[in-house]
Structures are given as structure tokens and as C-alpha cells.
Symmetry: C2
Subunit: 143 residues, 2 copies
DNA sequence: GTTACTGCAAACGTTTTGCACCCCG
DNA sequence: CGGGGTGCAAAACGTTTGCAGTAAC
């Protein structure tokens, strides 16, 4: 039987990245830590209303986290941004069902084999995206 | 001396995709055909004002083109969408300079080697993104 | 005690919508 | 001539900003 991985503790993360340990930051971080897929600001805000958070504070908190490298911001063919806790241990990309919006992590990354080719144009690589969109198995059975 | 590739003619494309041949559509298509990199709606609108186009019409025209598969819509870590003429002959991805916003096409595509792996989750692949962001050589020399 | 964070209201840039008119096929 | 396309104004949406009050260190 596989043991569950221990989740990091919000306060420890805030301390580690040397940013003030405030209520909104602990709450947003907790939401992201337990999330099983990337969340929009609206998703996160809805889960934090009961803790008294303001939507603008969620935006500002997420921007701070992204700047500090605690959280990764993604764009999934939407008008809205998605956020996920940046787990440096397992870099990954995403498979997205365009029907039910379910997002599944995808371990393969092509970047290492591209670096040489890219370097003729870009002298520094900052980030990259690889997302694959389609219809997931459950959704294709229904349709 | 390399001969320039012949550009498709807007009217022919509109006919081929069976949509009404109107002034705004010909103008927007012409702009996309001669573009050397993906353009935002604002970019396109600016180039079509002199032809009397309305910004809303540019939006609607582009949405129609995307639905018909004439044009590809991309998201480049921005709040705004980018559009490029869908040249089915040469599928490609993008290298984006985060400093000067220059976008360069990138021929390599990892999808073929991923298909098998993806298929355990997605029964149909509709589209995919691969964009690499960094600092281009000219920009890195200045900084 | 300072500095940085938060909440509120208001502004912002991008995109969509409702409706009357117009033009392509 | 009918149905789809267009222009205009206005709304909707996601996100950012200014400012006064508050909390963390």
C-alpha cells in the first residue's frame, strides 16, 4: 500500500520564500496545495470566501506567489489564467479535456531535446508551454 | 536566388471555405496573409482602419475564420489572443522573446512521439500548444 | 514603529452581445 | 429577396490600480 505524500505546510513555505505570513496567503496556499488540478482565480476565490477573503486579494496573492516562484501560472485556451502549486520535484505539462475541462498532468517534456535548436534564436529560455487538448475517455463515451 | 512563395488570394480562400465574400473578410485575410508573425486583434484592427473596418467586425471575422479552420488562434502569456493564417503545409510552434515580443516560427513538433502516451487519457486530440519563451539574441546583447 | 498587505471602489483592456441596417448570393 | 454580415453602442468579463486603514515583523 502506497503511503500518501505529506503535503507541505503553508507557513513553512511562506517562511522559506521570505514573505509575510498573512491570513490570505495561508488560505490561498492551502487551497492550491490540496488542488488536484490547476485552478482559476474564480475557483480559488470561491473556496476562500468562507475564510473572508476578497477577490482582489486573491489576485494580488497569486501574483506575489508567481513572482516568488511558489506558484505557476498557465493559460489553457481560455480568457482566464490558471494557477497551480509549483512542485519543483516533478515538472510536467497538461492534457486538457475541452468538454469537461478536466486537466491531467503529463510527465513528458520535450524541452531537453529542443534546447540546442532553440538556442540559435533565444539566448535564454525562461519558460515554455506544452498543453494537449482533446476529448477525454469518459466524455467520448457519452457523446 | 530563391523565388518568393506565391500567397493565396483572399477571394479564393473565402470561396474554398464556403463563406460570404465580404469586404472586411478580404481585408482581414490579406493582413494575415502578409503577416510575418502572429498578430493581436489590435494589430489587425490598426492595419484595417484605413479600409474602414470596425474593431467589432475584426473580432467577429476572426472568430469565423477560427471556426472554419482558416486561421489559428494562439495565447502567448498575454491577456490578448494572437492570430495567424493556418498554413496547413507547415505546422509549427513558436519562440517568443519576452522582451521585444518578437515571435519566430519553430518547425519541430513533439506530438507524433507523444500520441501513444496521450491516448491513455484522451481519446481524441484536437489541438496542442508548444511555445518557448525567452530573450532573443539581439535583446540579450542590449541588456 | 515601519513597511508591506488588505479591502473597497473604481478603472482598465479585451471581448461579446443586441439591435437596426445593409449587402452577398 | 432572404439570411447572414456589419456597425454602433453598450454590456460583460477578467484583471489591475489608488487609496485609506490594518496587521506583520
Amino acid at each position: 500500500m502506497k503511503s500518501l505524500p505529506t503535503l507541505p505546510i503553508p507557513i513553512d513555505i511562506l517562511e522559506q520564500y521570505v514573505i509575510k505570513n498573512t491570513h490570505p496567503r495561508r488560505v490561498v496556499l492551502r487551497v492550491l496545495l490540496v488542488a488536484t488540478q490547476p485552478l482559476t482565480v474564480e475557483d480559488i476565490y470561491q473556496k476562500t470566501i468562507k475564510d473572508g477573503l476578497n477577490e482582489v486579494t486573491v489576485y494580488r496573492t497569486l501574483n506575489t506567489f508567481v513572482e516568488k516562484g511558489i506558484v505557476r501560472q498557465l493559460f489553457l485556451d481560455d480568457r482566464s489564467a490558471y494557477f497551480e502549486y509549483e512542485n519543483k520535484q516533478k515538472h510536467h505539462h497538461h492534457l486538457v479535456c475541452t468538454n469537461c475541462r478536466k486537466v491531467v498532468d503529463f510527465a513528458y517534456c520535450p524541452l531537453p531535446s529542443l534546447k540546442k535548436n532553440v538556442s540559435t534564436t533565444l539566448s535564454t529560455i525562461q519558460k515554455h508551454t506544452l498543453e494537449i487538448f482533446g476529448i477525454c475517455k469518459p466524455c467520448s463515451r457519452v457523446a
